[in-house]
């Protein structure tokens, strides 16, 4: 042990000497601190933001463009009926505690996630699994109840990363994964430090050390970047500051896309918004451009349905809900609400919702719809709006990738109940032919846009502010992650 520590130290010293030429430390600013460090038992995106791809890896993984690539599984075979997946694990993969990755770990992970008492926040990802067996040390067979075209995609989520039974007890405080970085320490309320994993199976990380510093306040984030206390700030929280960074040669500003469809969600089950005419009136009353400009200072891409514009199957349906207050007033009159009506507008904390909400309220007032704004904490929003369905309107960004399926759940908080859409969704889940899938997806997008289920506002953009010399940062955010494995300082 002592000898090991000595060699490690010697190694660290030579690295340090080498590091004098090429900078190898990185401080990343993040707005939210993870509540704990187990990505498989909480919804908090902040956990993945620190650990995904850096510390933990799954069978498959997302690439920077959102594609699904091999992860810990080098390759896989799919049976002809699409129900049986046989994963071939990479050889020589070690967890950070020195234990080897084997098929047993995969079985443990998947069984734990789909167990009765599972605390996985995305349990639905595993719901289709019928059985998981280890065929030998490096071969795992997963059998699905029915074919699922999205299974490999599901396995790339942060909630599906592979964990080991040996380290599961303390995973919330000391995460042990297989990634290119290993966990070093966590000063709660302040920072988490990762260091390079010398025994990584793949190409070693180029940074020696990465520190995530948690700065929730946007003003403080601005000052920290300006003072170069942090070198990169993904999901930079104050878009109004971006022009200042762009004008400064010390920084680069990367603006990428996310999976976040930002919608003005409407309560489809409660009058008067249960009336499609009224929902259409709301849709035409809102001016997406002004909302994006006012709330996001121009960042984002307008959307006309609940689908990411960078996805190949996206169709631009914004024309179905063009800004047209005159038409909106007519529609209201047609619905028997010529004098307008009053409803609630409940807003969660992010600034797109709070600022966007104030603008939406002003625009709705313009056609005669009065809104009572209530600002809610997330916990209250979940209780009142999401679970209690006690709302008229709300603004929220749905950041899960490929989540149009939520419109097939009549008990989902906006309570859209369309047999036609539900049939489309059922057809999609068993369809594996890419062309037919594409057709169905277009039909689904069109259905909800024509029904004006929600006011579709814009696709959330992700601005990253970084030191101008940094390379290899993700621009887009296909999932919540800060993948540092390919990040390096340009000399």
């Amino acid at each position: 042990m002592k000898v090991l520590a000595m060699t490690a130290l010697a190694g660290a010293m030579t690295l340090a000497a080498w590091g004098a030429e090429a900078k190898s430390d990185l401080v990343v600013g993040l707005q939210l601190e993870p509540p704990h460090l187990d990505p498989t038992s909480a919804a908090a995106g902040a956990i993945d933001q620190v650990l995904y791809a850096n510390v933990f890896e799954g069978l498959t993984r997302f690439g920077p463009d959102g594609s699904v690539n091999p992860g810990l599984a080098e390759s896989w075979d799919i049976s002809d009926d699409g129900r049986v997946y046989t994963f071939h694990l990479r050889e020589g993969v070690q967890f950070h505690d020195g234990s080897a990755l084997d098929a047993g770990d995969v079985v443990f992970t998947l069984d734990r996630a789909r167990a009765e008492d599972s605390q996985n926040a995305q349990k639905a990802l595993f719901a289709g699994i019928e059985s998981v067996e280890a065929l030998d040390d490096l071969k795992v067979r997963v059998t699905l109840a029915q074919p699922d075209g999205g299974f490999l995609f599901n396995m790339a989520w942060g909630d599906a990363v592979i964990v080991a039974p040996e380290s599961i007890e303390s995973i919330k405080q000391r995460p042990v994964g297989t990634g290119a970085f290993r966990f070093k320490d966590w000063v709660q309320g302040d920072r988490i430090t990762l260091e390079r994993n010398p025994g990584y199976w793949g190409e070693a990380a180029r940074l020696d050390r990465a520190t995530f510093k948690f700065i929730s306040d946007p003003t403080a984030a601005f000052a920290a970047v300006m003072a170069e206390d942090v070198h990169a700030f993904p999901f930079y929280p104050a878009p109004e500051n971006l022009p200042q960074f762009e004008a400064d040669a010390r920084f680069q500003v990367l603006v990428g896309s996310t999976e976040g469809e930002t919608v003005l969600a409407m309560n489809n089950a409660a009058p008067p918004l249960d009336n499609p005419l009224v929902r259409r009136a709301v849709a035409h009353a809102i001016d997406r451009k002004a909302i994006m400009e006012g709330a996001m200072f121009g960042l984002g891409t307008p959307i006309g349905t609940h689908f990411a514009p960078h996805h190949p199957d996206y169709v631009d349906l914004t024309f179905l809900s063009d800004y047209d207050p005159e038409l909106s007033r007519q529609l209201l009159a047609e619905a028997g609400l010529g004098d307008g009506f009053t409803t609630t507008l409940k807003l969660p904390p992010p600034s797109y919702a709070r600022r966007g909400g104030e603008i939406v309220a002003a625009q709705l007032r313009n056609v005669g719809i009065e809104t009572e704004i209530t600002n809610l904490e997330w916990a209250q929003w979940l209780e009142e709006v999401f679970r209690g369905k006690d709302f008229g309107l709300t603004i929220v960004s749905h950041t899960e990738p490929m989540d149009i399926g939520i419109y097939a759940r009549p008990d989902y908080y906006f309570q859209y109940d369309s047999a036609e859409f539900q049939a489309l969704n059922a057809a999609l889940s068993t369809e594996t032919d890419p062309e037919k899938r594409s057709e169905i997806l277009v039909a689904m997008q069109t259905r909800i846009a024509e029904d004006h289920v929600n006011g579709f506002l814009f696709q959330l953009a992700v601005p990253t502010v970084a030191d101008a010399r940094l390379r290899g940062l993700w621009v887009d955010a296909p999932t919540q992650a800060t993948d540092l494995t390919g990040v390096y300082w340009e000399e």
Binding site: E116, N120, Q122, A124, A220, A223, A227, A379, E383
Partner: protein, 315 residues
């Protein structure tokens, strides 16, 4: 004295009991479920139920209350719902920021208020007095979070003398840590120093009117000498009382300033815990602060009664 002490101890006990009940009941009716918050919008209902069971949230409220109180009596504050670490440790961690910050602000406030108050009292009615009193009027009226914002703009963003916020941590060295507490301490100290200056001045002026000061003056001491030798000591009672009050206020009341400078202190811990519905943390921190204030008051009462027997009868 013993009987008085016993009666006060009894009422101390009842106060703490009532306070703990009020805190617990208030948080019982807070809408929002920590388990649902943790698991987010895609969670299945049975997953939420499983987490609730693990957190012990499905037990009856009276049982949870007794657990909480019983644990606290043994120094065990429970396990945080969100962080899953002992609450006592989290509080200790935050106190490393809040306590030095409160002391720093108090020290600044005292260092400003003593000379300013004495100076103004010595030159009562002069331009100095008017000037000092005018400044304290401004100091009392200024919203300290606004003052803090302006300081960040000037000293952190424009001049870059200080970082805009955050806490460097004690392991980065005493000076670095103190530096990151400086702007917040100044923002906190300004209104407190103004209040203390006014108290100091008027306490001195009051004692200056007393007979023994007149005697001292008659014996040939100048106004300044009489003030320094005699009045100052007697003016300390109200001044120290105010300082005591200010300390407990600073410990809990820094919440807004902690937000401006994103310091990981006690106030922000409570703020974050409330939004995450980590109620066990909220309960314990608030109870701890209330406990501190009640016990300090108790000690002060006893001390007064000891000094002045007349107070023992009633108050």
């Amino acid at each position: 004295m013993l009987r008085y002490g016993a009666r006060r101890a009894m009422s101390l006990f009842v106060s703490l009991l009532v306070a703990s009940l009020v805190i617990f009941l208030a948080l019982e009716i807070v809408p929002g479920d920590p388990a649902a918050y943790m698991l987010g919008i895609n969670a299945e209902p049975d997953t939420v139920a499983a987490l609730r069971a693990e957190l012990g949230l499905n037990r009856a409220a009276p049982l949870r209350y007794l657990d909480w109180i019983g644990g606290m009596l043994q120094g065990d504050f429970g396990i945080s719902y969100t962080y899953r670490t002992p609450v006592a440790g989290m509080i200790a961690e935050r106190l490393k920021v809040s306590l030095p910050l409160a002391l720093y602000a108090l020290a600044l406030s005292t260092l400003i208020a003593f000379p300013a108050g004495i100076w103004a009292a010595q030159r009562r009615g002069s331009a100095v007095d008017v000037g000092v009193m005018g400044v304290t009027q401004l100091g009392v009226a200024i919203p300290n979070f606004w003052f803090a914002m302006l300081m960040v703009l000037v000293f952190a963003i424009n001049l870059r003398w200080f970082s805009a916020g955050g806490f460097a941590g004690w392991d980065s060295g005493f000076l670095a840590a103190m530096k990151s507490l400086t702007l917040p301490a100044v923002a906190l100290a300004l209104p407190q120093a103004s209040i203390l200056t006014r108290v100091m001045r008027s306490a001195l002026l009051d004692t200056l009117g007393e007979d023994y000061i007149r005697t001292a003056r008659a014996k040939g001491l100048t106004r300044g000498q009489a003030l320094r030798r005699h009045a100052l000591r007697n003016a300390m009672i109200p001044v120290l009382t105010i300082i005591g009050l200010q300390f407990s206020f600073l410990l809990a009341g820094a919440i807004i300033i902690e937000n401006v400078f994103f310091l990981p202190g006690l106030g922000r811990l409570v703020f974050q815990a409330i939004s995450a519905r980590d109620l066990i943390v909220v309960e314990s921190v608030v109870m701890l602060l209330v406990f501190a204030v009640i016990v300090v008051n108790f000690a002060v009462d006893l001390a007064y009664a000891w000094v002045d027997p007349r107070l023992r009868g009633e108050r």
